[in-house]
Amino acid sequence: MSAPKKRNFHIEAFKHKVVVDPRYADKTWKVLEHAINEIYNHNASGLSFEELYRNAYNMVLHKFGDKLYSGLVGTLTMHLKEIAKLIEAAQGGLFLEELDRKWADHNKALRMIRDILMYMDRTYIPNTHKTPVHELGLNLWRDHIIHSSEIQTRLLTMLLELVQRERTGEVINRGLMRNVIKMLMELGLSVYQEEFEKHFIEVSSNFYSLESQQFIECCDCGDYLKKAERRLNEEMERVSHYLIDRTETKITNVVENEMISNHMQRLIHMENSGLVSMLVDDKYEDLGRMYSLFHRVPDGLSSIRDVMTSHLRETGKQLVMDPERLKDPVDFVQRLLDKKDKYDNIISLAFNNDKTFQNALNSSFEHFINLNSRSPEFISLFVDDKLRKGLKGVSEEDVEVILDKVMMLFRYLQEKDVFEKYYKQHLAKRLLSGKSISEDVERSMIVKLKTECGYQFTSKLEGMFTDMKTSQDTVQEFYANQAAETADSPTLAIQVLTTGSWPTQPSTPCNLPTEILEVCEKFRTYYLGKHTGRRLTWQTNMGTADLKATFGKGQKHELNVSTYQMCILMLFNNADCLTYKEIEQATEIPASDLKRCLQSLACVKGKNVLRKEPMGKDIGEEDAFFFNDKFTSKFYKVKIGTVAAQKETEPENQETRQKVEEDRKPQIEAAIVRIMKSRRVLDHNNLVAEVTKQLQSRFMPNPVLIKKRIESLIEREFLERDKEDRKLYRYLA
C-alpha cells in the first residue's frame, strides 16, 4: 500500500443492521424454521438461498449460533418423527420402498440445509465442537428411524426374508436391497454391522448348516461338491451386487465352514464316491473341484493329501507284494510306471500341480517300491527287455520319454547298488550276444544314470562299451595279419573283456573242438605278442556259435547256438549216438549247464536237432542222444537256446544279494576313513550320521553294519577309541 496521498479515512460503521431488536434472533430463526419445513414438504422452489444464507450468517455472526443449532436439532427431530410414523404405516412389501424413498428425500433436504447453514458449519461448529450439519442429520435419522423399535425389527426381518427368498431361487429387487444396505453403511459401519450383518451371518450359518445336512444325506460326494461350489459362487455374487465387500469374507467363511469343514471327513471317506473312488476312476473334474473347495478351509488339503498317500501306499504295497505280479518283472515295472503316470496326471490336471501333493506322491512311491527287495532287479530287467526288443520302431523322443520315466522309478530305489549289479549283468549279456537294438539308446541310458548318480556309477559300464570297440579292432587286425594261416579255419569273432569292468563269472572248464582250439591258440599268441603282461582266459559260458548243418533229406540249416551247445553238436560229427555220460566226459561241461543245453537241443519242439531216448523233459544219466535226421524247420536260420536275461531263481538271488553285501563293506569303510581323515575326532552318532549321508545315494547303510566296520577298522589300527570317552573316535595317520 504505497499511496502517497494521505487520505483521511475513517472506519465507517457497518452498513448491516446492528442488532438492536431483541427479537431479531427469534425473527430470523422463524424464517429459517419455515424454510426447513418447506424443504421437507418439497416446497423449496420458492425460497431464496441468499436470503436464508444471509439469515443464518447473521445469526451466527451475532452470537446466536446456539439458538440456531438447537433450533435445527428440534426441527429435524420433529420432521423425522413424522417420517417414522409414515414408514411404520407402510404395509408389507411397501415398507422397504417407503423407507428407501424417505431416505432419498431426507438426504436431499439435508444437503440443502447444509448449504444454507454453511457458515455455521464453518465457524460455529469447530468452535463449539458440535456435530456438523450433515453428520447431525445422519445421526438423527439413525436415532429416530432405524433405532425406532418397530422399524428396526421390521427392517431386519424384511431384509433377511428377501435374502432367504433369493436363496430359494426367487428373483428379488436387488436395486432396492442395494439402496437400503447403502443407507445403513452411510449411517456408519457399526450400524451396518449391528443392524444387519451380524444377523445376516447368523441366519446364513443356520441356513447352510441345515442345507448341508440335507444335501449330505441324499447326494454323493461329487454332487455335493457341485452344490457347495454353486452356493459359494452365489454368495459371492450376492455380495458384489448388493452387500458390502467386507461381508464377503465373512459369508464365504460361513459357507466354507458349514458346507465344507463340518462334513469334510465324511465327504472324503464316502463310500463309492469319496476321494478314493475318484482317484481310482480318474475323475479329474470332481477332484479339481474338491481341491479348490478344500483349499479354502484349514486342514482341507492336508486331509486330501493324507488319504491319497495312504491309498497310494496301500495299493502300491499290494502291487509290489502280489506274488502273481512277481512272476513277470516287465509287467511289474510297467504297472508301476502306469501308476505313476496316473497320479502325475491327477496332480497336474486336478490338483493344480501342487508341490505338496507331488512330494506326497514321491514319498509314497519311495516307500512301497522299496518294500519289495527285488525291485532293483526288476527295473533292470524292464530296461533290458526294452533295449532288446521293446523299443523297436519307437521314435527317438518316445524312447527318451520312456527312459526318463524309468529313471524316475530308479530314483525311488534305496538300494541303487543292487540295481547297478544287475544292470551290469544284463548289459554284459546284451552286448555279448549282440542283442541290443541300438547302441545310441544304450549310451543314452548310461548318460542318464551318470547324471543321476555320478561318474563312479557308470565308469565300469562305459568300460564295457570300450572293450567291445577295442575287441572289434583287435580282431580285424588279427585277421588282417594272419590271413593266410587262418583261411580255412572257422571264423572267430572275439571279444576281449577287461576283468574289472565286466561282471565276474567263474570260468568254467569246457573242451573245445580241435578246429576251434587251433584258432584260439593263434589268437592268444598274437594278442599276447601285442600286449605283454596280460593274461587271457576263455569264457566258454558266454559265447555263441553259428553252425551249418545238413540233415537227412539234405536240407541245410544254419543253427545259432551257445558255445556249449556247439561243443556238444560237434561231437555228433564223429558219432551218431552218444550217451549223456559220454557227452559229459568229452566236453567237461558242468552238469547243470550241460543238462540245460541238452534240454534245449532235444526237448524243445521245433528245435530238436537231437533226439533223446527215452523221450521226456528230464535228463537222466543213462539217456542216449541221437542226431535227428528228420529235423525240419520253416526257416533256414534256426536259433536255439537264447542267452537272454532271466529273472533269477531264488538261490541265484541269494547269491547276488550276498555279493552286494560284500561290496558294501569296503564302501562303508572307505566312507568312514574319508570322514575321519578330515574331521580327525568325531563321536559315534555323528560318524554314523555322516556315513549314512554320504552313502545314501547308493544304498541305506544299516547302523549295526557301520558299527561292525568301525570295529574292524579299529582292529586294523586305522582308528582308535578315545581313552576317556568311549564314544569318541580318533583318526590314526
Partner: protein, 98 residues
C-alpha cells in the same frame, strides 16, 4: 457469452453485474447456491441478490473473481485494494466465503 454460462449479481442499490459462472464459482457460497440440490429460486433464474452488499464492494468482488481466475493460470499480478474498501470487502468476503 451464452445465457447459461453467466450469472447475474445484484447489489444493494440494484446494480446488476453479469459475470461468468466460472468466475462466480470462486465464491464457495455462490457455488453452493448454484449447485444445491434444492430448487431454490436462484438456480432457476440464475440471479443472486445481495441486499447487504453495496455496489462498489460488489464491483471489487467481481474484479477479484476474474483476477483469481487469472492467478490460477499462473500470471502473478497484484490485486490492488483501496484502503477504504478493505474492511467492508473483508466482511463481504467472509460472507461469500471467498
Amino acid at each position: 457469452m451464452k445465457k447459461e454460462d453467466t450469472v447475474k449479481l445484484i447489489s444493494a442499490e440494484g446494480f446488476e453485474f453479469v459475470i461468468d459462472k466460472n468466475a462466480a464459482m470462486v465464491s464457495q457460497t455462490i457455488r453452493n447456491m448454484l449447485t444445491s440440490p434444492g430448487s431454490f429460486s436462484e438456480t432457476q433464474h440464475g440471479v443472486v441478490r445481495f441486499p447487504e452488499i453495496s455496489t462498489p464492494i460488489l464491483e471489487k468482488i467481481c474484479q477479484y473473481f476474474y483476477w483469481s481466475l487469472q492467478f490460477a493460470s499462473g500470471k502473478e499480478t497484484e490485486f490492488y485494494i483501496e484502503p477504504e474498501l478493505t474492511l467492508e470487502l473483508m466482511m463481504a468476503a467472509n460472507y461469500l466465503h471467498t
